[in-house]
């Protein structure tokens, strides 16, 4: 206890290490938050879900904090659902025995400076045989009425207003999501369209042909900004991947580092204690391992066998066992082996295993700690590297996969910088956090470096 | 003071460490005459090696205070800048055989070249330097064919001789020997001491010998300085220091030397040598002194005795 306290006191001498500890603390907190608030299965399900879950989310929306840098307020997403929104006025009148009108008046207030990227109207109807029909009209604050179109409505119908060609032609070939929300006088070719702020209404005039037939509508005006992290090309909230990427990255880095350092360490100890053919074999295996290219093999494994992150973890550890650090551990162990207390232990009949595990390894163990900590970011980035090559885990949301999605979808060309920057910053934080602590530890545990 | 070859006045070397300021050398003054050998005696960690480094300005990186006067033939070498010091003092006037001389040889330069190097560096005479190196190596008893060897091919005793040869090659006025024999076996020790004695007889060179080994140092010493906690506590001619020391510390030190064929109880000094970081106030030896009294809470000056000896102890104060 006292030892740990002293250790942290010593670590606190290094300002960079304090920064590192803060960063790692932050990441651990994020990881804990992710695991507690969003269970593993749920996170995977959400991340793999399609339009049925993410339909109401904007595509490639920037994070809301981008408002801080934008001159205009970025449009948030507006969803008006006739099933849940109390402002929607429903009117129904009997026309004939089976025929009824079903009108929905959906008001909303548009106050942003920016135009939305997309507007969708989801219509759903209940019926037995005869599908209801509807006519959609857009009412602007200045009293204009624009007929959007008519439709026969099935159980689930999507009217993609923003990409409707007929509507676009009617609007003088201006994208509907702009034309419908702009001040009409700014729609000239040489002018920058401006938003007409105010109360809008979408009126759905429906006609049902059966007794219990009903009609419902949901208008989604997709904003330009969403949440803390924005959304990706599949409308998914990137936050999920950022949150869940944290525990995965930390666990992967930590386990890979523990696995490879510990095994390497034990093997080096055994080799140098027993010497002879055991040692020779270990040395040869190390040399063979040094010829094998790690990353290509991982790529091979990812392409040919499995992309499961835990399987990859196993291969990483396997390739790390006979790493070149065996040689440096070995030379340290060879020195320890000659020390009198080992000789004494041998003399009074301690077993080989006891000497290796209880006498030799603890002596050098401190040297392990810094190299172990500095290894963690290497593996965190290794996972990201594989993901960037498209070999990320098929199920899990990870930072690397977000980066890969962004890269594959040309985020850098199209200007979706947040998509790249967010996972990149997290990766960078993890890398720098562990690296700074590792460097400080190296100075603490390596007396030769202490004064340097 | 002031008419010897080397006069050191109030030399002080303090350095910073993570635990505080180390007062390695604190107000040390002494005088060394030509062809004289002065021995600095003291326990490990009393600042002897730091004293050697302070005289030759071989300072560590974390120096806090470095002050005092070091007069060599009347000029204060403390006033020289680093480049002047390098050109005028190092190995021209003063050389040293460092502690662990075995590791102080360059592993990849041949012995002969290394011994000749100071002459080449300071005088630029290649051929002459080589001849001088050969002579001096011969004088300290290194076989000539060793000149083409590398340090790792030599035994410890041979390396020590090479280090001594290297210190003598430019015939400096003062040679500082820092524990020149501590890592060697008894026979080799005797051998080396004989070499040094012979050199002292043959040349005009003065020696400063730093050691904790009383018996070997007695061979060479003309005068002895007892050092305790970074300070000189007794300064005396060798004969009287070894036979009848004045300071309680020196007395204890002498009593701890084993002698053959004499049944005498070996003494030791209770307690630990004081830390140089927070030395005791007053007399620094007081906490371990068997004869301390009230006065000892004040720091004693270095009293000059009528017989020419100096002692830093209230017992001898007027």
């Amino acid at each position: 206890m006292k030892g740990t306290l002293n250790f942290f006191r010593e670590l606190a001498h290094y300002r960079s290490a304090i920064l590192g500890l803060l960063i790692i603390g932050f990441l651990l907190a994020v990881a804990a938050y992710a695991v507690i608030t969003l269970p593993y299965d749920q996170a995977i399900q959400l991340w793999r879900a399609g339009e049925e879950v993410w339909g109401d989310y904007p595509r490639n929306a920037v994070p809301e904090w981008m408002n801080l840098f934008a001159n205009n307020t970025l449009a948030p997403t507006i969803v008006i659902d006739s099933r849940s929104n109390v402002n929607v006025k429903k009117q129904s009148q009997q026309v004939s025995e089976d025929m009824r009108t079903a009108d929905l008046v959906m008001p909303f207030e548009y106050t942003s400076d920016g135009f939305p990227d997309e507007i969708n109207l989801f219509l759903s109807a209940k019926f037995q045989q005869k599908k209801p029909q509807a006519t959609m009209t857009w009412k602007t604050p200045d009293g204009r009425e624009i007929r959007l179109g008519d439709a026969t409505i099935g159980t689930n119908e999507r009217f993609a207003i923003s990409i409707d060609q007929r509507l676009r032609m009617k609007l003088n070939d201006v994208a509907p999501q702009i034309a419908l929300l702009a001040k009409p006088e700014t729609l000239d070719k040489d002018k920058q369209p401006e938003v007409l702020k105010g109360k809008y209404e979408l009126v759905v005039e429906g006609l049902t042909f059966e007794k219990d037939s009903t009609l419902d509508a949901k208008l989604v005006i997709y904003g330009q900004a969403y949440g803390w992290a924005g959304t990706d090309h599949k409308r998914r909230d990137i936050m999920i991947a950022l949150l869940w990427g944290t525990p995965i990255a930390l666990a992967f880095g930590f386990l890979a580092a523990v696995g490879s350092t510990l095994t390497t360490f034990i093997i080096a100890a055994i080799g140098s204690w027993f010497g002879g053919w055991v040692d020779a074999l270990i040395q040869r295996l190390t040399e063979i391992n040094s010829v094998l290219p790690t990353l290509p093999i991982l790529i091979l494994v990812g392409t040919f066998y499995t992309r499961n992150i835990w399987a990859i973890l196993g291969v990483v550890i396997l390739l790390g066992i006979f790493s070149l650090s065996i040689k440096s551990y070995r030379s340290m162990f060879l020195q320890v082996k000659e020390m009198p207390y080992i000789e004494a232990a041998h003399a009074y009949g301690a077993s080989n295993l006891r000497i290796v595990f209880q006498y030799m390894m603890p002596k050098i163990a401190p040297v392990l700690i810094p190299s172990f900590v500095t290894l963690i970011p290497t593996f965190v980035f290794l996972e990201a590297s594989l993901a960037v090559l498209g070999l990320g885990d098929p199920l899990l949301p990870t930072w690397g996969k977000v980066l890969n999605d962004a890269y594959v979808n040309g985020a850098l060309y199209k200007g979706y910088y947040y998509w790249v920057i967010e996972p990149a910053v997290l990766l960078m934080l993890a890398g720098l956090g562990f690296a700074t602590i590792g460097f400080a530890l190296d100075r603490i545990f390596n007396p030769r470096l202490r004064e340097m | 003071m002031g008419n010897g070859l080397l006069t050191v006045e109030k030399l002080r070397l303090h350095f910073r460490s993570s635990k505080g300021v180390v007062q390695a050398v604190d107000d040390v003054s002494f005088e060394l005459k030509r062809n004289e050998a002065m021995v600095f005696l003291g326990e490990s960690g009393c600042g002897k090696t730091s004293l050697a480094k302070a005289i030759l300005r071989m300072l560590p990186r974390n120096v806090k205070e470095y002050s005092g006067k070091v007069l060599l033939n009347g000029t204060d070498i403390m006033q020289l800048d680093d480049e002047q010091f390098r050109q005028q003092v190092r190995w021209i006037k003063m050389s040293m055989v460092p502690q662990a001389a075995m590791n102080s040889l360059n592993p990849v330069i041949r012995i002969g070249e290394q011994v000749a190097e100071p002459t080449v560096a300071h005088f630029g005479l290649k051929k002459e330097a080589w001849n001088q190196a050969r002579d001096v190596l011969q004088r300290v008893g290194v076989p000539l064919d060793f000149m083409n060897r590398y340090a790792f091919e030599l035994s410890g005793g041979m390396r020590q001789r090479v280090a001594i040869a290297m210190a003598l090659v430019t015939s400096p006025d003062v040679v500082i020997l820092d524990e020149p024999t501590s890592a060697l076996d008894v026979l080799t020790q005797a051998n080396i001491m004989n070499v040094l004695k012979r050199i002292k007889q043959e040349t005009e060179t003065s020696f400063i010998l730093i050691t904790h080994d009383i018996s070997t140092s007695s061979e060479l010493a003309n005068r002895v300085a007892g050092m305790y906690a970074g300070q000189i506590v007794e300064l005396s001619d060798a004969e009287r220091f070894f036979s009848a020391p004045l300071h309680p510390y020196s007395q204890k030190l002498m009593a701890s030397v084993p002698t053959l064929r004499q049944t005498k109880k070996l003494e030791f000094i209770p307690g630990q040598p004081p830390s140089l970081i927070n030395p005791p106030t007053g007399c620094r030896f007081a906490p371990r002194c068997p004869v301390k009294f009230e006065k000892c809470t004040e720091e004693p000056p270095l009293f000059a005795m009528h017989d020419g000896r100096f002692v830093k102890c209230w017992l001898y104060g007027k």
Binding site: I288, I299, L432 | -
Partner: protein, 377 residues
């Protein structure tokens, strides 16, 4: 290292022990060479096994052949009238011929040994999908074609890095504790971030936002006709990937060398050299650089070896047409000959350099004798 005679304490006088020394040297070289060659053999065989998925890839290949043959026969209008059974026979026949040609009728073990001997004799064979720009399927040609791009990129950055790092570190070890030194220490952990990662940031800043440098590739799309225009375009494309590589390792490089020099300059013999009154230039040259030359040369040699190993992800991120990207392409296309060829090339270079290094080491460091046992660390 390899076994050998016990290190001799005294240097044998010239002319006396020559025959003995010579045989010892020869024995050592042979033994070491054999051991290293065995290393290559096993390493390459493992690669062959992994790259063929232990033979499983053949099943995939077989299915592909069947599909191709089937498509070509069924799509042939002259054969349409034939009854189905005959068509199937036709297909089977064709598949068998194809299998024979590719030696797929042999058991995998036999073929894996074939692959191994071919690889070791640098008979790298034909690629299955990838072809060189000149249209050749020869793996050797493909590799040779990609080599210059990789070499250009990695040699520029690594040679720059190596020499800058060593010289700056030497300077810093003299100016220990200066502000520049502190900056380097503080920046050293940034090397935990891989080069391709800096690449993405650089692309973001200089290509996406500022539009001053290209996103990737090696030269502009219509290849410039004049030499000067070509070189300018090439240089422009090199700036970002080279900067990414440099950013990634410059600080850790300087930091490591600096620590290395500091450790060596606190050796007793350096202290002694200072006491001897040697100039700091002499001390640096004879007492710091000279004894540390063997590790510096080793490091340099390894720098040279890894020049050949293209940076896979960096080249992919920058669409740089080098060996690294080739390897990635080969893997995604299951083009085993190209994969194995790439790995064999690097294994050979690596092992050959290790072998050479052993000899260089012995020449540079008198403490290490050829035929002597352990290297002193």
């Amino acid at each position: 290292m390899a076994t050998g005679t016990v290190q001799e304490v005294t240097r044998p006088k010239a002319g006396i022990h020559i025959p003995e020394t010579l045989t010892r040297v020869l024995k050592y070289v042979l033994f070491r060479g054999a051991a290293l060659f065995a290393t290559v053999v096993i390493g390459v065989y493992l690669t062959v096994l992994i790259a063929n998925m232990g033979g499983y890839l053949d099943t995939i290949r077989l299915a592909q052949i069947r599909e191709q043959v089937g498509a070509s026969i069924l799509g042939d209008p002259t054969l349409q009238q034939l009854p189905a059974s005959q068509l199937r026979e036709r297909i089977d026949e064709q598949v068998a011929v194809e299998m024979k040609r590719l030696r797929l009728d042999q058991p995998f073990f036999v073929r894996s040994i074939d692959y191994l001997t071919d690889a070791l004799t640098l008979n790298l064979g034909r690629a299955e999908f990838i072809s060189s720009d000149s249209g050749s399927r020869q793996v050797r040609l493909i590799l040779v074609e990609r080599m210059p791009s990789t070499l250009l990129l990695s040699a520029t950055s690594n040679l720059f890095l190596f020499f800058t790092a060593v010289f700056v570190a030497l300077f810093l070890s003299r100016h220990y504790g200066s502000w520049l030194d502190r900056i380097v220490i503080a920046m050293a952990p940034t090397s935990a971030v891989p080069a391709w990662f800096y690449g993405i940031f650089l692309i973001l800043i200089f290509a996406s936002i500022l539009h001053v440098l290209p996103f990737g590739g090696m030269v502009d799309a219509p290849v410039p006709e004049t030499l000067s225009a070509y070189v300018t375009s090439l240089l422009k494309h090199m700036i970002l990937p080279v900067s990414a590589l440099v950013l990634h390792s410059i600080f850790i490089g300087i930091y490591n060398w600096r620590t290395f020099f500091l450790i060596y300059s606190s050796e007793d013999y350096v202290e002694m050299a200072k006491a001897k009154g040697l100039t700091s230039r002499t001390i640096e040259r004879r007492y710091i650089l000279r004894p540390t030359l063997p590790p510096i040369v080793t490091q340099f040699a390894f720098t040279l070896i890894y020049l050949w190993q293209g940076a896979i992800i960096l080249e992919t991120v920058f669409s740089w047409p080098g060996l690294g990207r080739l390897l990635y392409q080969a893997i995604s296309l299951f083009d085993v000959p190209v994969i194995v060829g790439n790995v064999v090339l690097i294994a050979y270079l690596l092992v050959a350099s290790v072998f050479l290094l052993d000899i260089i080491y012995a020449l540079l460091d008198p403490r290490v004798k050829v035929g002597g046992g352990e290297r002193r660390s």
